[in-house]
């Protein structure tokens, strides 16, 4: 049995984000991190590994430097890592990305008692689309927004969060689950884990390695295989600054209240 965790390296949008004059993101000036929800996905896999001794495999698609993130995942306790990286994969939207990741996961091999786990969404795009799209391409049942995962033999029970409560959903392996941050608290890398990370296998799947998969075709991957196109990107204008009221005492508050009253806001 193994668990395949799909993870992504993303710019850290919680810090300073720089935008180029042409409206694109100045990625060079930004820190990269492992996408936060994906850390919860990896932790969920490692927890099952702690209990069952199963193998944990991490997979990503991205430029070569994303391999550094995979080493961190290996240091946290994953056993093997794969990176799908090729010029042909560039410019992919979520549809094309899921084709490539599904092909990579096919190549790794999904067996009867395996589970694929993803984060719910990545903080760069916030789409939450790639997980379900991988599931569709691999013909796996999907359970998204997982806040609790229980495994009993080949039966998986997930508490799937809704805005106004939750559902309990049952399925059999193999299946795909997407995780939210409420699921767990990701562990840190251990010293011995960091030491071992460099002796664990990290494999690159280039275009040649994946091209024989039926999912991989010029019409379904990369920019030319992406159904969506960006018409334009832009930064919103700053709203004009309002009035900074003088002082911060009761008189200031009375002044504000009277303005609100005059404008029929209260």
């Amino acid at each position: 049995m193994k668990i395949i965790v799909s993870i992504k390296q993303v710019p850290d949008t919680s810090g300073k984000v720089a935008v180029n004059p042409d409206g694109t993101l100045d990625r060079a000036s930004m820190q990269t991190i492992t996408n936060p929800d994906d850390m919860n996905a990896l932790e969920a896999a490692l927890k099952i590994k702690d209990e069952t001794g199963c193998k944990v495999v991490v997979v990503t698609m991205g430029p070569a430097p994303a391999a550094g993130m995979l080493r961190e995942a290996l240091a946290m306790g994953a056993d093997e890592a794969y990176i799908a990286s090729a010029r042909e994969f560039g410019g992919s939207d979520t549809y094309a990305t899921s084709q490539i990741l599904a092909a990579a996961i096919n190549r790794i091999g999904v067996e009867k008692d395996d589970i694929v786990i993803c984060g719910r969404q990545a903080i760069d795009g916030d789409t939450a689309q790639v997980g379900p799209q991988i599931a569709e391409k691999l013909h796996l049942p999907q359970i998204t927004y997982a806040a609790d995962i229980q495994k009993d033999g080949d039966t998986i029970t997930v508490r799937r969060m809704l805005e106004d409560g939750y559902m309990n959903i049952k399925t059999k392996t193999p299946c795909l689950i997407t995780c939210i941050k409420e699921l767990n608290t990701p562990r840190y890398m251990s010293v011995s884990g960091v030491f071992e990370a460099y002796s664990k296998p990290l494999t690159t799947y280039d275009y040649e390695a994946l091209k024989d998969d039926p999912l991989i075709d010029k019409s379904t991957i990369g920019l030319s295989g992406s159904p969506t196109n960006i018409l334009t990107s832009f930064t919103p204008p700053q709203k004009g600054a309002g009035v900074m009221l003088e002082g911060n005492d009761r008189a200031t508050c009375d002044k504000l209240a009277s303005i609100l009253l005059e404008k029929h806001i209260i």
Partner: protein, 379 residues
């Protein structure tokens, strides 16, 4: 799914459809928002607006959708569709889409819509844009929107009638222009799906304005039962239980007044929340919070305003001790009136506030509550 279905045969697709989500046999507020927006888009395309509603014996709630603008509602009744399940819903929706071929398909970006949308788009081989906050067909409206909402120079906006798609010039006038925030709200992008249909979008709840309900239109709305097949063997997952949250969740999206707290309450979390609750109660509003307050466990997730929380546009938004990170601003900057209280006079929240008070929220908030009470009493 109809094996002849070809998502690239653009000319074969017609009409705008909205997936109308029901929970426990009740329509969701998002349904009315999307039907209202879908009405505009259908008018701009000169086609019908149709709802598609899945459930068990839900004909009775379908006509209400007509009151907000639907010409027709496709209703799919089946005991196995009573509660949302990815397998059943994706199968029926994809099968009906493959038969009837709508050109645009809108889904509320709820936890259910965001599970269903990508699964269907992948099966249909078409594009899906997530969590849209603005939708256009008409180029005049779209350009006007960009003039207001972007810093793009006018000459670049004027050139957006065509896009280069696979090296060819493509006229975007009949494409749905789907605009959404990315990178935590730092950037906005307009997405098109030029080569495939239906063009699919999930739409952020609370963003599209609901039309006024029109009983005559509701009465005139046509109910249609499209053919579909569904069996237990189509299911790989089983929903064993649906549990409603015990606590009543805060309705940020429907609120006219929101008082939100941020990291500034850290020195006395309970006290800070209590002050916010008192101010909110005086205004007849509710309490929200920034991501920091939710991540720290001070408020439950239903209170979160921002890119990763809810988008709100109340009459008054009062930010107490919120610095105003872009990710927070993305969820509240369209509020009609923004009031900020913060100790730090350089906090970015003041850049978008209509009225700012530089001071300690623990001192200012109770005085503001009193001042508003007194002002209302003087009316």
């Amino acid at each position: 799914m109809n094996s002849n279905f070809n998502s690239s045969d653009i000319g074969a697709f017609k009409d705008v459809w909205v997936f109308c989500e029901q929970r426990e046999g009740k329509l969701m507020p998002t349904d009315f928002e999307l039907i209202s927006k879908g009405r505009d888009l259908a008018n701009e395309l000169g086609v019908n607006l149709c709802g598609i509603l899945l459930g068990d014996d839900v004909d009775g709630i379908a006509k209400e959708l007509g009151g907000y603008g639907a010409d027709k509602v496709y209703v799919c009744n089946h005991p196995l569709l009573k509660v949302y399940n990815t397998d059943g819903y994706a199968k029926v929706i994809c099968d009906v889409i493959a038969d009837l071929k709508p050109e645009a398909f809108l889904i509320g970006a709820t936890n259910i819509g965001r599970d269903l949308g990508p699964r269907c788009a992948a099966r249909l081989h078409t594009g899906l844009c997530a969590d849209c906050t603005h939708l256009d067909i008409d180029m005049v409206n779209y350009k006007e929107f960009l003039k207001q909402a972007s810093t793009l120079p006018a000459d670049r906006i004027e050139k957006l009638d065509t896009a280069v798609v696979l090296g060819q010039k493509h006229d975007v006038s009949r494409d749905l222009k789907m605009t959404r925030p990315a990178f935590g709200g730092h950037l906005m992008a307009s997405i098109i799906c030029p080569r495939f249909r239906p063009c699919m979008a999930t739409v952020r709840p609370g963003v599209m304005k609901k039309n006024a309900f029109d009983q005559a239109k509701a009465d005139a709305c046509e109910i249609v039962h499209p053919a579909f097949e569904l069996n237990e063997s189509d299911f790989q997952t089983e929903v064993t239980e649906v549990v409603k949250a015990a606590k009543k969740l805060v309705d940020l999206i429907g609120a006219d007044y929101i008082v939100s707290v941020g990291r500034g309450i850290s020195k006395d979390v309970e006290g800070g929340i209590k002050l916010a609750e008192e101010l909110a109660a005086e205004l007849g509003g509710v309490v929200g919070g920034s991501r920091a307050t939710i991540d720290s466990g001070w408020l439950s997730a239903d209170h979160q305003v921002g890119q990763t929380g809810k988008t709100v546009h109340p009459k008054v938004y009062i930010a107490l001790g919120i610095s105003g990170a872009i990710q927070h601003k993305a969820g509240m900057q369209d509020s009609e009136c923004i009031i900020a209280v913060n100790k730090n006079d350089t906090a970015p929240i003041f850049e978008i506030a209509d009225y700012g008070i530089c001071g300690d929220l623990f001192k200012v908030t109770p005085m503001l509550t009193e001042a508003i009470r007194a002002a209302k009493a003087s009316k």
